[in-house]
Symmetry: C2
């Protein structure tokens, strides 16, 4: 369970499967993404890894995320007005954004049309869906 090596091996494998050279920074960024549940922004990733990798730069985080996305390793989530968010899951699934606490989380449901290959003659590569509202926790708190 606490085996760091096994984690590193699987990260390395994931990167190599997508023809991405498994550098230390890339493994750390992928590791962070896969452990996070909050669809982090580049800034969140940068700040979290800075203590472990003091020389890390925002540029590297941005370019790495872009690379991961281009290679199909992660998906981009456009929900926030200002910042892009990233998701280690590439399979289509709906998100929920709470206006009160600001959390963005996965919904426990299938994405309708998630496996659709075309609509009205248009070829589909990606399907995105999300709801905006007030989450259960915030509703209960008042």
């Amino acid at each position: 369970m606490k085996s760091q090596k096994a984690g590193f091996h699987s990260l390395r494998r994931l990167l190599e499967e997508k023809n991405i050279r498994p550098s230390f920074q890339r493994m750390k960024i992928l590791d962070y993404l896969r452990k996070s549940k909050d669809h982090p922004t580049a800034e969140m990733i940068y700040r979290s890894l800075l203590s472990e990798i003091p020389t890390l730069s925002r540029t590297t985080v941005f370019s790495t995320l872009k690379l991961f996305y281009r290679k199909g390793l992660i998906s981009q989530v456009f929900i926030d007005e200002s910042e892009m968010r990233y998701d280690p899951i590439t399979k289509p699934h709906p998100h929920f954004k709470c206006l009160k606490c600001g959390r963005i989380f996965d919904l426990d449901m299938e994405c309708p049309y998630g496996s659709l290959k075309s609509v009205n003659g248009h070829k589909i590569y990606e399907c995105h869906m999300y709801f905006v509202g007030i989450c259960k926790d915030c509703l209960n708190k008042g």
Copy 2:
């Protein structure tokens, strides 16, 4: 059909219904939005109206769009990486973004869960859905 007055009256009414003072700039911006089918960005609106209103500023366009959105007159469309897009239709409906020609257009279909008021106990205010791919026209062109 070509009556400009009728258009202005209906624009004025639309704004007043939402408790927005119908200034010249606001009417023009709303008019542009309602006539457009391409989910314009603030910049697109600004550039288009500049010839008619040479003193118009980007600030006014941005603040007006934000006001319209807050009052429920238009909806925001997050599809573009960089710029926000605006839509005169507030009823949930799916969009399609073509990676080749860059067009963003409405799909002729209902938004699934578009009338849903809550999911898993979370209260829903907005429902957004869009597909990314290659549109019919671009496919046919090769």
